[in-house]
Each structure stands twice: as structure tokens, then as C-alpha cells.
């Protein structure tokens, strides 16, 4: 019975497939229009191919900042063991180059095998770089040039970049202009016969913040975020590792941290996990910026001080009513007057140093310190006895904490040349910042709203370097709690990263705070909006989101193809009928 049913099912579907919807697309005024007419249809059989032919930018996301030129002739690539890589690079980089080549090849292989067999071109990719550098930092040159020429039966791609990171980005670009599609029943990988691209990012720090303390994120999910970042040429994963809710990093020197701080013994990151994740990120052009937030946003994990005879390492932990002592439960703040705290922090930093290999940049947090916590703690009041309990006193206390915290950190890493990042706060007000945070060590991450650009100007004037996370555009958690608003991709895209262009603005970060996301739903919150921010940080185009729309939809599809549950931002009909859903009045 079942067999017959299955047979008739196949017959039916087969019939339907042959007879099925077979849209064609035509290129008109830079838009791919689906031909909805009933008869005499003509055009490209796939939207992607039409876009490749029709888009001035070959549908690349983020938009290359240099030249893009191409022919309008399609060629089919031979995919059967015929992609060849040639490396002209220092030996130190060869392993890296092989890894990124492998990653590139994996992008091309999706579910079904290619079956194209007409006029196939052999793809030869020549990668060349001079630098032996294989870890990236703020000064890494990420530019590249890509030239594709075809002749005879060969398509030769010449990629030149100062560093392997430029090479990686160029392979990302190449994977976006190699388009898989089905034509006349056979699946082909196609591109244009001649292409020139020169490209480099506008900002060196292009980040996504994830928060693994409010809710734990499993390693696989973090890797998926890194894949999305790689596809969008974001290069910094800001890992807000700990907060007052939980402490998931397994510290070898201080095993009590996770014992008292993790949600469960399985919801932790071991040093090995961190090491592997950093390696995974490296081959995707992403460096990991670890944040241990303090003096505020520290609670769970720090309760073991008294039991170990070290006194209170943190105060106000779990204190209720929480609204009086912190911005969200549970409360908790470091105890800045306990010298043991700095020893503990030093141990922790040593563990993180062991787990990470690049130690040039670290995030010390430093946001939302609650004075009402400290000034209701007897031992701190005792310490401050004799001083006036003014804001200045507390800022001094906080400033002292920053100094000692940085000392602990410098001791752990053995030098004083790394840069540390802190969030904007009372301590970073232009009037006081110089007293507490020297500008040769501290980078300031601004989460101020767009209206606070004056603050940024003042900080720039004082010689501080900035990372921008405009909270009324780039806080991806907004829109689901309190009176916050959701920022749709166009709002995210059109964030005018602060105006006077100076190299003191290192770049920006979109922030995915974790209160309302976990493994289940983080993809849809982050993607594709983080990709919209990625183009802002890579290309910083003068044009509006409307102008980027069709490329953006195509990039969203790309993310979905790579296994990321990116949100659909528009009816599919609009993506298939470019330009038809714009405003006409």
C-alpha cells in the first residue's frame, strides 16, 4: 500500500516539478524583475544570476570600498576536484592559508552536488601575501585586490593582500560572486568572465557583542555567530563573558568561580573551549575580545571570599530589594577596598592569558556602577571614614579600583603595552576621565545614544580612542523590554558613525545583550541586522539603506544558506520582485 502511495506521490511531484513554477528574471534599471506574465517569458532562470549580471556591485556584502569592474559574460566553473590553489606567501602563513581555502571550498559545497557539464572552466586561485603575520590586531591591514580573468578553459583568480586577513576577506568576496543556481535541470556554479575588485575596510574594529552571563550560549551557537561574522566581514567578537548573573569561565587557579557562579557544571567554558573557539574565530578573520566586567556587574561566582578567609570580594551580592542597589537583579559589585580582590583578579587574568594567545586588547567593563551599593556597605563606609561622602569620593574609589585592576592585569600579562576598553560611565565624563583613565591605555566604548555626540567630540579632543555602540541603533536587545524600541535593519544600517572622521574612532560594535535570548533565539535577533551594521563599519557608504536593500536581501539568503536562522525582513515576494515594494507616492 505504502509503496503505491509513495510511487504516486513521486509521480505527482515529478509531474509538478516539470510543470512547476519557473520564474524568469529580467534586469531593468539595476533591478531584477520577476516576469509574472503568463506567456512568452524570457530572462534569467535564477534571481541570483540576474543579480550578478544586474547589480553594479555584483551583490557583494559589505560593499567593496575600491573599484568593482566586471564583464557581463557568464562562465560555469568546473567543481569536480578542479579548484586549484596556489600560494605565494611566507611559510608561516601556509597553514592559515590552507585553512581558509578549505573554509572557502566548504562554502561552495552545499546540499546537492553540481551537475553542470557544459563549457566548464577550471578555477585556479592564486593567493599571494608578503606578511608573515597570522594574528590580527587594530593595525592589521585587511585590504585586498582580486582579479579574475578567464581564457581558454581556465578562470584564474589573482588575489593580492598585505596580510592573510586580506586574503581571507577576498575569498569571502569570491564566494559571494560564485553563484550556484539551477539551469535546465542542472546545477551550476557560475561567475563572470572578468572581474576586478579592490577593497579595504573603513574601520579596523568591527564587532558583535555576545553576552554569555545572562543566559548561557553553547559553543556551537557561538561558532554560528562567528560564521555569520565571517560572511559579513565583521572582525571582533566581543565576548561579555561574565556578569552578576553567572560566571561561566572555568578558572584553573580559582575553581570556585564557576563552582559558585555557573548555572550548572555543563554550562561553562573551559580554557580548552576558549582556546578552540579563538582558533575557530581566527580562521574566519575574527579576533575575540574578552570582557570581565567590573567593578559593577559582578556577583555570582565571587561569593566564596569569606569562606576562604579572604573577606568579601564582592558586596551587595543578591541584595534585595534589588532596585535600590543595581539596575537589574541580582545585584553585586566588587569590593574595591579588599586587596585580596586584586590578587584574585590577577589569577583570573592569568588563566585568561593562558587560554588566549593574543593579549593586546582586553575589556574591563566598567559600566553602571551603583554608588548606593557601595555607600550602604559598612566596610566601605568604614574605609571612607573621615572623607566627605560626595560623588567625588566614590569616583576616587572607583578610579583607584581601575588603577589596581589594570595593575593586576598588567602583572598577569607581564607588560604594560596592551590596550584596555571600558564602557562610557560617570568615570568617563570629559571633566573627570583624565584623572582616572590614561588615554594611552584606555579605549572608550560608547553606548551613548545618538544625541550624545558632543560627549564623543570631547573625548576625542582629550585624545581617547573610541568604539561606537550607539544604543538607540545598535543595541539588538531593544524592543522587547521596557519602553525600548526595536531597530529594524534600515535603522541599524543608517547609523551615522560619528561625524568628524578621525582614526581615533576605531569602529563600532552591535550589542546582543543576553537577558532575553539564549541558544533558541539568538540567531534571529542578531542576524541579519548585524550584517547591516557590518556594511556601515566596513564601507560606511554615503547612500541610504533603501539603496542597499536588494543586496541586503541577497545577503540574508546567504546567511540562511550557511545555517544561520537569520530573520526574514520582508515578504519573499518583495525580494523576488526587486523595487516593487518601495514607496511610490
Amino acid at each position: 500500500m505504502n509503496f503505491v502511495a509513495a510511487l504516486s506521490w513521486f509521480w505527482f511531484m515529478g509531474f509538478y516539478l516539470v510543470q512547476g513554477t519557473n520564474w524568469l528574471w529580467q534586469c531593468e534599471d539595476g533591478y531584477c524583475k520577476r516576469d509574472n506574465s503568463e506567456t512568452e517569458r524570457e530572462g534569467y532562470s535564477s534571481l541570483k544570476i540576474c543579480q550578478l549580471m544586474c547589480s553594479n556591485y555584483l551583490n557583494i556584502w559589505p560593499l567593496p570600498t575600491g573599484i568593482i569592474r566586471s564583464s557581463k559574460e557568464l562562465i560555469n566553473i568546473n567543481t569536480r576536484n578542479s579548484i586549484f590553489f596556489y600560494y605565494n606567501a611566507p611559510t608561516e602563513t601556509l597553514h592559515f592559508l590552507k585553512e581558509i581555502s578549505k573554509y572557502f571550498e566548504n562554502q561552495l559545497k552545499n546540499k546537492e552536488p553540481y551537475s553542470c557539464d557544459e563549457n566548464l572552466y577550471t578555477l585556479k586561485i592564486f593567493l599571494s601575501t608578503d606578511s608573515a603575520q597570522i594574528t590580527s590586531n587594530l593595525r592589521t591591514n585587511e585590504s585586498y585586490t582580486l582579479k579574475l580573468n578567464s581564457s581558454g578553459n581556465e578562470a584564474n583568480v589573482h588575489i593580492k593582500a598585505p596580510t592573510v586577513f586580506g586574503v581571507r576577506h577576498s575569498l569571502e568576496t569570491l564566494s559571494q560572486i560564485l553563484v550556484s543556481h539551477v539551469e535546465d535541470g542542472s546545477k551550476c556554479l557560475s561567475t563572470l568572465s572578468s572581474i576586478r575588485i579592490a577593497d579595504e575596510p573603513k574601520y579596523p574594529h568591527r564587532g558583535l557583542l555576545i553576552d554569555t552571563a545572562r543566559n548561557y550560549l553553547s559553543i556551537g551557537v557561538i561558532k554560528r555567530q562567528i560564521d555569520g561574522m565571517a560572511a559579513s566581514k565583521l572582525n571582533v567578537l566581543h565576548w561579555h563573558l561574565t556578569d552578576s548573573q553567572s560566571f561561566p569561565f572555568v578558572s584553573t587557579r580559582l575553581p570556585n568561580m564557576t563552582r559558585y557562579g555557573a548555572y550548572s557544571p555543563t554550562k561553562v567554558y573551559t580554557p580548552e573551549d576558549v582556546r578552540k573557539l579563538i582558533e575557530y574565530a581566527e580562521y574566519r578573520g575574527v579576533r575575540v575580545l574578552v570582557e570581565i566586567d567590573g567593578p559593577s556587574h559582578a556577583g555570582m561566582g565571587w561569593q566564596w571570599g569569606p569562606g576562604a578567609g579572604l573577606g568579601n570580594l564582592a558586596v551587595c551580592v543578591n541584595r534585595q530589594p534589588w532596585r535600590s542597589y543595581c539596575v537589574q537583579p541580582p545585584c553585586g559589585q566588587f569590593n574595591p577596598i579588599n586587596e585580596n580582590l586584586y590578587r584574585a583578579l590577577g589569577d583570573l587574568y592569568s588563566d585568561i592569558r593562558d587560554a588566549t594567545n593574543d593579549w593586546r586588547m582586553f575589556h574591563l567593563g566598567g559600566d553602571e556602577v551603583s554608588i548606593s551599593c557601595w555607600n550602604s556597605t559598612p566596610e566601605i563606609l568604614e574605609y571612607l571614614k573621615g572623607q566627605p561622602l560626595t560623588e567625588k569620593t566614590y569616583l576616587d574609589l572607583w578610579g583607584r579600583f581601575q588603577r589596581k585592576n589594570l595593575q593586576a592585569y598588567d602583572t598577569a600579562v607581564g607588560h604594560k603595552s596592551s590596550m584596555v576598553v571600558v564602557w562610557t560611565s560617570h568615570l568617563t565624563q570629559p571633566e573627570v576621565i583624565q584623572e582616572y583613565l590614561p588615554n594611552d591605555r584606555y579605549v572608550i566604548q560608547s553606548w551613548e545614544p545618538e544625541s550624545e555626540n558632543e560627549l564623543l567630540t570631547n573625548l576625542l579632543k582629550l585624545g581617547y580612542k573610541l568604539i561606537v555602540s550607539t544604543k538607540d541603533r545598535w543595541y539588538l536587545d531593544h524592543g522587547f523590554w521596557g519602553t525600548t524600541k526595536y531597530y529594524k535593519w534600515k535603522t541599524v544600517y543608517e547609523n551615522p558613525i560619528y561625524t568628524p572622521y578621525t582614526s581615533a574612532i576605531l569602529g563600532g560594535e552591535v550589542c546582543m545583550w543576553g537577558e532575553l535570548v539564549d541558544d533558541s533565539n539568538i540567531d534571529g535577533r542578531v542576524w541579519p541586522r548585524a550584517a547591516a551594521a557590518a556594511e556601515r563599519m566596513w564601507s560606511n557608504p554615503a547612500t541610504s539603506a533603501e539603496y542597499a536593500q536588494t543586496r541586503f536581501f541577497a545577503h540574508r539568503e546567504r546567511l540562511v544558506e550557511r545555517g544561520i536562522k537569520a530573520e526574514g525582513v520582508i515578504p519573499r515576494w518583495c525580494a523576488e520582485n526587486e523595487g516593487e515594494c518601495q514607496t511610490y507616492m
Binding site: W9, N36, G524
Partner: protein, 690 residues
């Protein structure tokens, strides 16, 4: 089974020893020992892996063979031999769910779980403490079940009593029996199977040891007094009573009594919520004794999903049905087509999908729809197919001229869209073309057949743009004599209703649902729409006058107020002009607190219930789960339990947070990507985040 259980433990112990060994190694020497232990580990790992992969498929079958062979049919034991296993698709569905567990096994091999936290019940709250003695630790799951809250969702409307003790049991001790022999027999069998796999789904891995169980057998008995009811109707009695208590020597027995299968299924759902996995004791537990009497506040508890703006796969819709079942929602309103696309393959009108679907693999075949309808019925859900007309048509309706039927739809893809419709692309049926009504009759016939629904039919009927018709009719219509085009709309609706009757074999459909619109307002509503037949789905704002007016005119309504129960809102405008920029997001609290019959003093007798709506302009199947859950669960308690709003406090009780969070975690266990309610710290510290 036993064998694997044992080897599992041995493995864990060895692994633990291996870890200790490694620590010693670091301190000293003995590289050889390390190698040996690693090899041993590797060997054991492969051994276990091999056993696992070999075993997994049989395990699934085992579950079902277990169910069928353990059935006891009091009256006719021979039936157990012929009890049909569930359809194979269903099996696959659960196998897919089960597979991630294999990877968990390897994780666990690395890190054997040591209880870290323990919870004590203090003043009806579970307080978290560091577990100094892991052997005496109580898990949050166990504490939470025994600490003042019923943990049931939706909260039963009748009396609930629950023991404060738990029993350990093994899912293999479950036995199912039912004396019912009526037409609902096979539905009961399948509901048992669903229940059984839900219980197994709670476990970390199904091969935990049976030793240590407190019971000898756990029997679930269903007695249905009206066993002939196999289709859910508005009048179907969904009440049930559940008695869970000790029986005989060490036996445990759950007696479910219900008028219909649909009540009994709800009871199984409730029973499944009295069962949990204790991760510390590594066993299933169940409340020692309980009684529950329950019935819904409203007969219609719906969820609408739109599969036209963006396509949703059958699998994603099944996940939605799994979630509906878990929350005792009972109507899936499937807004299957719209002007953007027509994904349903209508057997008598294949051109609709052929010219209207996004792609050949973005369609629903008749068999897929029938299968989904059955999948839903087993879970107590009816499926209502809506092909919206006369507006909200377009792509898929342009083949009229080539088939000699003239223009079936007008304004299709017309620009500028903002003149002719609310969102692009435009399109509306052509009321002047008599062929349109023939086509509708064929369509309706197939929709009735596919959904098997004989009581409720949804005709759409919203957002008709008269400008579109007026422009079109100026050009072609002989009937261009209307001073008020609402009359044309009214006449179209009347004709369509006649065709619905014809398609239904001449039998009037008891209830036809229409979206609220100008036509469902005075004076048109009384002129064109028969109040004994038409049900109006109110999607306007809760402060609009629509609902009270309709009720006072005697119309039945389903409430879908946009400001509370539109789950798609809050993601910004996806086009620059046009309405329906329905920001902000409706958090679950808003959905939960919406009780218009109390706040506006509406007559509840004519309110069939409520429906939460999820339009799909701004998401596709990747985000379906997260858009729906847990908000649709919050809505579900509103329409099942309908707790009074406390006008004085106007806040949500702590117990609601606790129960909803537990329910959210159940949904995740059933494979749904439900959104997080809050930081996990708040789950682990009940009451501390409010």
C-alpha cells in the same frame, strides 16, 4: 536495554577514574599509564558509540512496540495485537528530535554531572544554595514541582489537589489502557503514543537504569463516555478529570475520565506536566498523588499563521502544532494564501499554486495538508484553511485569460501599490466575472475536503480596497452603477456564501468566519451578513467600537485585538508607507493581561474565544518558533483558564512567571526554539527578579 543501562554507569565511573588519573599524571610521570587510560577511554567511547548508533533506531521502534504490546484493553484484549502504530512520518519526527541526544552523550562523557546547586522550598519559593553535599542536593525541577505551585499551564479551572511528594519511575513502567471502543479508539492510541514520547523526551537519554524506581507499574487509563466524537466542534466537551494515585502494591495509576477524546487528550497533557526529569537523581519523577478537574473557558482557542508572505515548511508547522497541543490551544487558522503567493496545491485548481507559489518546493501538496490535519487532530487541534478573498489575492490568480475565464483578479501587482492595497503586491478578485464564483466553488470544495472541517469555514474578507474596484469597473463593468461600492462587496460576499453552500453538497456551513472590516460594521453587516451564521473575527484595536457593536447586534465573535494578540508587531515598518506598522512588540505580559470582556464588560456568551495572529511579512520559518513561543502560551492561559485581572494590583502574580517559565522549558524540550523569558538566574532564583 538493561545491559546498556549498566554499561553506561560503568563507563561513567571509568571516565571519572580516568580524569583522576590524568591529574596525578600532571603532577608526576607515568606517561604510559596515561596512554593506557586514554586508549581505554577511546575504546570505551567507541564501544559505547557503536552500541548507541546500533541501538538508536531499534530504540525508537522499541518505544512504540512497547506501547502496543503493553496495551491492556479491558474488554477486548485481542485488539492490542492489531492496534495500529502511528504513521511513519510521526516516527521520523521524533527520531529527528532524539538524535541531538547522541551528541549530549559525548559531552557527558567529558563532564560527569555533579550537582552544583541545591534548592530548598522556603515559603513556597525554591531558594538556591551551593550544594555542599552533592549527594543530598535537590534539583530545581524537583523542588519547583513540590513547592506550592501546580506548575501546570494553562492553569486548570476546576479544583486541583497535589501531593507534596514525588515518586521515581521509569518510562518503561508506563502502561496504557482504555476501555473505549468507539470511533475515537485510534485517536486515543495515537495520543498515548504522543504522550509516551513526550515523557521519553524529558529524559536526558532513554537508557537510564530502572533500578530505584518507587513503583512497579504506572498505568494510565482513559475512559471516554462519548467515544464516537472524532471531530472537534465548538460544542465538543473538552472537560476532563484526572486522578493520580497509588494502586495495589507499589502501583501508580492515573485515571482519566472525559466526555470526549478531546477532553482526555487534554488530561494526558496535564498528566505529562506532573512528570519531570530529575537531572540529579537521573530518573523520571511524578507527583505521588493528584486530582485535577478542568475545562476551558472558551471553546475556540486559536492561533493564526500566515504562510503566504513567507513560506513555512510542513515541519515547522508541525512544531507549531506540538506547541499548541502542549498549551491546549485547539484551532490552527491557516492563512494559507495572500496576494504575495499561493502555496497550496488545490487539486481542482492546480494553476493557483503553479503560477502563485514562490518555487515548486515552496508548496503544500494535498497529501501534506491531510497529513497535517491528522497530526493536528491527534493533538486536539482543528485546522481551518483560509484562502482570503476578495482582497488579498494576486499572485496565482492571473491565469484566467489564458484558460478562457477572463480576468479572475484585478489590480494584480498594480502600481503605485499604495493606491490600490495596503501592502505590495496588490490584487483583488473580480466581482463582475461570473467565472470567479465557479472557481470559488471548486476551491471551497477542495478546502472542505482537505481540512475535513464541517463546522467552521474562514472566508477572509478583510481590507477590500474599493479604489481598485472602482478603477477597474470604470473600464469594463456593466454593473458600474453602484453609488456605494460597499454594496458590490456585500453582494460578492453573499454570492460567495452561496457557492460555499453549493460546494458543501448543498448544506449550509454552520459558521462562516469573516475578518472584521467595513462590511462587518453597521449598516452593511445587518444587510448582508446573517447573524446566525457569520462569525466575525475582530482584529481591530481593543478600544474600537467593533466588538461591542457586533455583540449588541447579536453576532458571534472571535477576538484577535491587534494591540494585544498580534504577535508579528514590533519589528518596525518593512515598507515606508501604509498602515499596519503595529509597533511596539507585544510582550507575553500584554497577551496575558488582555481580558476585554472584563475591562469592556462584553457579553461573554457570544464570544467564541480568541485567536493570536502571526502575520509573516517580517520573518520566515527560521524564526517561527521564537515569534510564537512563549507568548502564544501566555495567550493560551487567557483563553483556557481566563484568570481574573486583579484591578487593584494590576500586576502579574509571581506564580504565573514561575509556571510560564516551566512551560517554556517544556516547549524547548519538545524541540521548539522558544524565546527566553529572562536570564537563567531568574529561573534558578524564583521570585527574585520581580
Amino acid at each position: 536495554m538493561m545491559f546498556f543501562g549498566r554499561s553506561w554507569i560503568e563507563f561513567e565511573e571509568l571516565e571519572e577514574r580516568g580524569r583522576c588519573g590524568r591529574i596525578r599524571m600532571k603532577q608526576g610521570e607515568l606517561r604510559r599509564a596515561l596512554l593506557l587510560i586514554t586508549l581505554l577511554c577511546a575504546f570505551l567511547f567507541f564501544y559505547l558509540y557503536w552500541q548507541q548508533s546500533n541501538k538508536y533506531i531499534p530504540a525508537a521502534i522499541y518505544r512504540f512496540s512497547h506501547i502496543t504490546t503493553n496495551y491492556k484493553y479491558n474488554n477486548h484484549p485481542h485488539i492490542s495485537q492489531s492496534a495500529t502504530p502511528p504513521p511513519s512520518r510521526y516516527l521520523e519526527y521524533h527520531l529527528i528530535e532524539a538524535s541531538p541526544k547522541q551528541s549530549q552523550i559525548s559531552v557527558r562523557c567529558r563532564k560527569p554531572i555533579q550537582p552544583q546547586w541545591t534548592w530548598d522550598c522556603v515559603n513556597k519559593r525554591c531558594e538556591r544554595r551551593y550544594a555542599d553535599d552533592p549527594l543530598k542536593a535537590t534539583s530545581l525541577a524537583t523542588c519547583g514541582m513540590l513547592c506550592g505551585s501546580t506548575q501546570l499551564w494553562p492553569q486548570p479551572t476546576g479544583p486541583v489537589t497535589m501531593a507534596s511528594k514525588a515518586l521515581r519511575f521509569h518510562h518503561r513502567q508506563l502502561a496504557f489502557e482504555s476501555a473505549s471502543l468507539g470511533a475515537s479508539r485510534s485517536l486515543i492510541d495515537e495520543a498515548f503514543a504522543v504522550f509516551n514520547s513526550n515523557v521519553i523526551g524529558l529524559t536526558e537519554a532513554p537508557d537510564y537504569p530502572i533500578e530505584g524506581s518507587d513503583v512497579s507499574e504506572f498505568t494510565v487509563n482513559i475512559a471516554v463516555s462519548n467515544a464516537d466524537v472524532v471531530k472537534l466542534k465548538l460544542k465538543t466537551d473538552e472537560s476532563y478529570s484526572l486522578v493520580l494515585k497509588a494502586s495495589g502494591k507499589d502501583g501508580l495509576r492515573a485515571d482519566i475520565t472525559a466526555k470526549t477524546f478531546f477532553g482526555a487528550r487534554g488530561a494526558l497533557e496535564t498528566l505529562s506536566q506532573l512528570i519531570w526529569w530529575d537531572p540529579y537523581d537521573r530518573t523520571l519523577k511524578v507527583i505521588k498523588a493528584a486530582t485535577v478537574r478542568d475545562k476551558p473557558a472558551f471553546p475556540y482557542r486559536g492561533l493564526m499563521v500566515d504562510t503566504s508572505r513567507n513560506f513555512m515548511s510542513i515541519d515547522s508547522l508541525k512544531r507549531m502544532l506540538v506547541g499548541m497541543a502542549a498549551n491546549k490551544l485547539n484551532a490552527f487558522h491557516w492563512h494559507i494564501s495572500d496576494s504575495q503567493s499561493f502555496p497550496l496545491i488545490v487539486p481542482s485548481l492546480p494553476l493557483l499554486a503553479k503560477t502563485g507559489s514562490y518555487a515548486p518546493d515552496m508548496t503544500y501538496s494535498p497529501d501534506e495538508v491531510r497529513d497535517l490535519v491528522h497530526f493536528a487532530r491527534v493533538r486536539g487541534v482543528r485546522v481551518i484553511l483560509e484562502v482570503d478573498t476578495p482582497a488579498h489575492v494576486g499572485n496565482g490568480w492571473s491565469w484566467g485569460p489564458t484558460e478562457g475565464l477572463g480576468e479572475l483578479a484585478v489590480c494584480v501587482n498594480e502600481r503605485p501599490w499604495s493606491l490600490y492595497c495596503g501592502e505590495p503586491p496588490c490584487g483583488q478578485l473580480n466581482p463582475d466575472n461570473p467565472h470567479v464564483y465557479d472557481v470559488l466553488q471548486k476551491l471551497y470544495g477542495d478546502l472542505i475536503e482537505l481540512s475535513g472541517e464541517t463546522e467552521l469555514f474562514h472566508m477572509g474578507g478583510d481590507e477590500v480596497n474599493l479604489e481598485c474596484w472602482s478603477q477597474h469597473l470604470q473600464r469594463t463593468s456593466a454593473a458600474y452603477n453602484y453609488t456605494d461600492l460597499h454594496e458590490l462587496w456585500g453582494e460578492f460576499t453573499v454570492k460567495a456564501l452561496q457557492r460555499l453552500t453549493a460546494a458543501n453538497g448543498g448544506k449550509r456551513f454552520p459558521h462562516v468566519i469573516l475578518w472584521s472590516s467595513k462590511l462587518t460594521k453597521r449598516p452593511y453587516v445587518n444587510k448582508y451578513l446573517d447573524k446566525t451564521r457569520v462569525v466575525v473575527q475582530n482584529w481591530g484595536g481593543s478600544q474600537w467600537t467593533d466588538t461591542p457593536e457586533l455583540l449588541s447586534d447579536g453576532y458571534k465573535v472571535i477576538i484577535s485585538h491587534v494591540d494585544a494578540w498580534y504577535l508579528d508587531c514590533g519589528f518596525g515598518r518593512w515598507r515606508e508607507t501604509g498602515e499596519a506598522a503595529c509597533d511596539p512588540y507585544r510582550p507575553w505580559q500584554t497577551a496575558y493581561q488582555h481580558r476585554p470582556w472584563q475591562l469592556q464588560r462584553l457579553d461573554k456568551r457570544l464570544i467564541l474565544g480568541g485567536e493570536a495572529c502571526l502575520w509573516s511579512e517580517q520573518f520566515d520559518e527560521g524564526s517561527l518558533d521564537a515569534r510564537l513561543w512563549p507568548r502564544a502560551a501566555a495567550f493560551a492561559e487567557r483563553v483556557w483558564s481566563d484568570p481574573r485581572l486583579d484591578a487593584a494590583a494590576y500586576g502579574i502574580q509571581e506564580d504565573v512567571y514561575t509556571r510560564l517559565n516551566t512551560q517554556r522549558n517544556r516547549l524547548v524540550k519538545r524541540g521548539l526554539s522558544a524565546e527566553a523569558l529572562w536570564p537563567e538566574w531568574c529561573s534558578q532564583n524564583p521570585g527574585m527578579c520581580l
